[in-house]
C-alpha cells in the first residue's frame, strides 16, 4: 500500500470525472431532477379536488356545509348543480371528481333531531384519489357535525362513541415527509452503483486498466483509489438532497444523525458492491447503464419506495426481502420521522449489515479476481 499512488489514482479519477460530459449530468442533474419529480409530482398530496355541489336545501346549514368543504383546502368547488341527475355527465367528462349532495329539508330535519343522509359521490376511476377524497369528505362532515353539536351544547360531554383518528408523526399526512428520506437512499444507490460501474467500465473500455496493472499499482490500491472519490461524491449528493429536503420542502428531522449515518454507510457499501458486480458483467458503458436500469425498476417497485409493502399481494411480499433498499427505507423514514433508534430498528440494521458484507465482499473479491485474470 503506497499512499502516494492511492492519492494519484484519486486525483486522476476526480479530474476525469470533472471532464466527463456524460458523468457530470448523471451526478448533478439526476438528483435535482429526482427531487423535483418526487418532491413535487409523485409526493404531492391530493388537494384541490374538483367538486360540484348539489344544494337542494338552500338554507344557512347547507351553505355552511358547502363553505366547510371549500375552506378545507382539499376541495375546490367548480360548479353548483340543481339535480342529482346532472352529476353523472359532469363526472363522465372528468370535470369533477367529487359531488356533494345536500338533500332538501336538511336544516329542518336536523333541527327536528332527525338523522340526515348527506350523500358524497366520488369518481372511482382513480382509486387513490377516490379513497383520499372520501376520507377527506368524511373528516369535513365529522368536524362540521362536532362544531354544530358543540354550538348546541349537546353531544361532546354526552354519551356516545366519538371516533377520532389521530395521526402520529406526520400529522399533516404530507407524503413528501416520507418521500425525501426515501429519495436520499435512492440517490445514494444510483450514484454509487451506477456511477461507480460506469467509471470502471470506462477504464476497461479505454485500455487504461490494463496499463495501470503493469505499473507498481497494486489491486488493493486501485480499488481504494477508485472507490473513495465516489464515496465522497455520494456523501455530497446525500447531504445536498437532505438539505433541500429540510430547508426547501420543510421535512422535519426528529432522528439521530448517527443512526442515519450508519444506516446510509451500510447501504452505500452494498451499493458499491452492486456497482462493481455490474461493471464485471458489462462490457460497455451502455450495457452497464442498462443493467443498472434493469435493477432499478424492481428496486423502486418492491422496496416500498413508491408503493407501500403492506398493500402488496402476499405472494409478492417475500420478494421484497431480497431488496436491500427495503431495509434502509425503513431506517431512514423511521429515524427521520419518528426518531426511532437502534433499539427499534435493529432487525433492519442486521439485514442491512448482512447485505453490505455480502454484496461489498463479493463485489470487491470478484473484482480483484477478475483483475488478476
Amino acid at each position: 500500500m503506497n499512499p502516494r499512488r492511492i492519492r494519484l489514482l484519486m486525483w486522476k479519477e476526480v479530474l476525469q470525472l470533472l471532464r466527463d460530459k456524460m458523468m457530470l449530468p448523471l451526478i448533478f442533474v439526476m438528483p435535482v431532477m429526482q427531487l423535483v419529480m418526487f418532491g413535487y409530482v409523485v409526493g404531492a398530496d391530493v388537494t384541490n379536488l374538483r367538486t360540484v355541489i348539489v344544494d337542494q336545501d338552500h338554507t344557512a346549514t347547507s351553505r355552511a356545509i358547502t363553505e366547510a368543504f371549500s375552506s378545507s383546502g382539499y376541495f375546490r368547488i367548480v360548479d353548483r348543480l340543481d339535480s342529482e341527475g346532472a352529476i353523472r355527465p359532469v363526472m363522465d367528462a372528468g370535470d369533477a371528481a367529487v359531488a356533494v349532495l345536500l338533500p332538501p329539508g336538511m336544516e329542518r330535519d336536523l333541527a327536528g333531531g332527525e338523522k340526515v343522509a348527506l350523500e358524497i359521490v366520488v369518481d372511482g376511476s382513480d382509486s387513490k384519489t377516490a379513497s383520499v377524497a372520501s376520507g377527506y369528505a368524511a373528516q369535513v362532515v365529522a368536524s362540521f357535525e362536532r362544531e354544530r353539536l358543540t354550538a348546541l351544547g349537546a353531544m361532546p360531554d354526552g354519551p356516545g362513541i366519538d371516533a377520532r383518528v389521530r395521526v402520529l408523526f406526520n400529522p399533516a399526512l404530507r407524503s413528501v415527509n416520507a418521500m425525501i428520506p426515501g429519495l436520499v437512499t435512492m440517490v445514494l444507490m444510483l450514484s454509487v452503483s451506477s456511477i461507480m460501474s460506469q467509471a470502471v467500465v470506462r477504464e476497461r473500455e479505454r485500455g487504461t486498466l490494463e496499463q495501470l496493472f503493469v505499473t507498481p499499482i497494486g489491486r488493493a490500491e486501485y480499488v481504494i483509489g477508485k472507490v473513495v472519490p465516489y464515496v465522497g461524491i455520494a456523501i455530497i449528493q446525500t447531504l445536498s438532497v437532505m438539505m433541500v429536503g429540510v430547508f426547501w420542502f420543510r421535512v422535519p428531522f426528529y432522528g439521530s444523525v448517527w443512526v442515519m449515518t450508519l444506516g446510509l454507510l451500510l447501504f452505500m457499501l452494498a451499493g458499491i458492491g452492486q456497482g462493481l458486480i455490474i461493471s464485471m458483467i458489462s462490457h460497455t458503458r451502455h450495457q452497464a447503464q442498462q443493467t443498472t436500469m434493469f435493477i432499478l425498476i424492481p428496486t423502486m417497485v418492491l422496496s416500498g419506495f413508491i408503493f407501500p409493502i403492506e398493500s402488496m399481494p402476499a405472494s409478492i411480499v417475500p420478494l421484497t426481502y431480497l431488496i436491500p433498499m427495503r431495509y434502509i427505507l425503513v431506517i431512514a423514514r423511521s429515524n427521520a420521522m419518528k426518531g426511532a433508534g437502534f433499539e427499534a430498528l435493529w432487525p433492519q440494521f442486521v439485514a442491512m449489515a448482512a447485505f453490505a458484507v455480502v454484496m461489498f465482499g463479493f463485489g470487491v473479491s470478484r473484482f480483484r479476481k477478475q483483475l488478476a485474470d
Partner: protein
C-alpha cells in the same frame, strides 16, 4: 493446491545468466479448455530488440501479460530481469515499461497530467521528474502542448507520449504490444528511430508486431502460432534455415483472378499478395521457374513477368503459418 503447484514452478530459481533479460521455461496459460500459450521456452538477451510475431489470437498478448506479471501462468515460469514474475510481480513491474496498441493514455487528461500521473506512480521525485518530463516532451516533440488534452493529439503524438509514459522511470526492459498499429508509415519509421535510440542506450525491447517490414528491424525473432513457438532466430537465420523454398515475385494485371487460380494449382505451394505483387512459393523443386511459367499459363497469365527474389520475413511468416496449418489439420 495452488500453493503446491506454485512450489513446483518455482523450483528452478536458476540465477539469471549475465546478459539475459528474459528467461522463459515451459510457460503455459490455459483459460478453461482453451490453451492460449502452450508451454513456450525462450531467452531474450540484454539490449536485444526481440520481435514476437504471430497471427491475431496466437498468444502474443497473453505471453506479454504473463511476463509483466499481470496474469499468473497456469504452469511453467519466467524470470524477468532475474526476478520470478509470479512471485515478485511488483518488483518486476517497477523495473519494466509496457506500451500497448491502444496507447492507454488517459485521453481526458492533458499531456502534463499524464506525465505527472505516471511519474508519481513510478515514484519519481521532484528533480528526477523534472528532468524526465523535459526529456520526454522533447523526445515526443510535444513542447508547447503540455496543457493540451491527450485526446486532441494526432495518433503519432499519442504513440510517442505513450512510449514516454511507459519509459518515464527509465526501465531496463520495455514490452511493446503492437506499438505501431494504426499509425501511418512515416510516423512508424520515426517511432522505430526512437526504439533504436532506446536499444542503443542498453534497454531491452520486446516487441510484437504484424508489420513484417518492422520484423526485419529486430535483432531476433520468434514466431508464435496457436500458443506454440514454431521458429526462433535472427532474421537472417530464419530466412536461411526455415526457408529453402524458392520465392518468385509475379506482376500480373488481374491479380485476384490469377491468385485464385494459382491457389488451386498443384505445383504451387503458396501464393499471396505482397503489396501490389503476387508472391509465389514453388517449393524446393529444381526447375521451379519453368513450372511457374506453366502454372501461370494455366491461370490465364501466360508470359507474366516473374522473377526470383530472396525470401523476406513476410515470406517466411506465411510459409511457417501455412506449414503449421497444414500439419495441424492432418492431425
Amino acid at each position: 493446491m495452488a500453493l503446491i503447484t506454485r512450489k513446483h514452478i518455482l523450483k528452478p530459481p536458476a540465477p539469471a545468466a549475465p546478459g539475459v533479460a528474459i528467461s522463459v521455461q515451459s510457460l503455459t496459460k490455459r483459460f478453461g479448455d482453451f490453451t492460449a500459450v502452450g508451454g513456450v521456452s525462450f531467452e531474450v538477451g540484454t539490449g536485444e530488440i526481440f520481435g514476437f510475431l504471430g497471427p491475431n489470437g496466437s498468444g502474443k498478448t497473453t505471453t506479454i501479460r504473463m511476463l509483466c506479471g499481470t496474469i499468473a501462468p497456469s504452469s511453467g515460469g519466467a524470470r524477468v530481469l532475474g526476478l520470478d514474475v509470479a512471485a515478485e510481480a511488483e518488483a518486476v513491474r517497477a523495473r519494466i515499461g509496457y506500451m500497448s496498441q491502444k496507447f492507454s493514455l488517459f485521453e481526458d487528461l492533458t499531456v502534463d497530467e499524464n506525465l505527472r500521473f505516471y511519474g508519481g506512480v513510478y515514484g519519481l521525485d521532484g528533480s528526477r521528474f523534472t528532468a524526465r518530463r523535459a526529456h520526454i516532451l522533447k523526445m515526443a516533440d510535444l513542447i508547447g502542448r503540455e496543457n493540451e488534452l491527450t485526446e486532441n493529439l494526432s495518433v503519432g503524438w499519442k504513440q510517442r507520449l505513450a512510449l514516454g509514459c511507459a519509459t518515464i522511470h527509465e526501465p531496463e526492459l520495455v514490452f511493446l504490444d503492437e506499438p505501431t498499429s494504426g499509425v501511418d508509415p512515416l510516423a512508424r519509421k520515426d517511432f522505430w528511430e526512437l526504439l533504436y535510440e532506446l536499444a542503443a542506450s542498453g534497454v531491452t525491447l520486446f516487441v510484437t508486431t504484424h508489420y513484417m517490414d518492422e520484423a526485419a528491424n529486430c535483432s531476433r525473432l520468434a514466431f508464435i502460432y496457436r500458443g506454440d513457438i514454431v521458429a526462433i532466430g535472427t532474421p537472417d537465420e530464419l530466412r536461411s534455415r526455415e526457408m529453402r523454398d524458392r520465392i518468385f515475385e509475379v506482376e500480373v494485371a488481374d491479380t485476384e483472378a490469377v491468385l485464385a487460380a494459382l491457389e488451386n494449382d498443384a505445383d504451387v505451394r503458396e501464393v499471396y499478395m505482397s503489396g501490389a505483387l503476387l508472391h509465389v512459393n514453388m517449393g524446393e523443386a529444381d526447375g521451379a521457374a519453368a513450372l511457374l511459367d506453366v502454372a501461370l499459363a494455366r491461370a490465364g497469365a501466360a508470359g507474366a513477368h516473374a522473377s526470383r527474389v530472396e525470401p523476406s520475413i513476410e515470406d517466411v511468416f506465411v510459409h511457417l503459418v501455412t506449414r503449421e496449418q497444414r500439419e495441424r489439420s492432418v492431425i
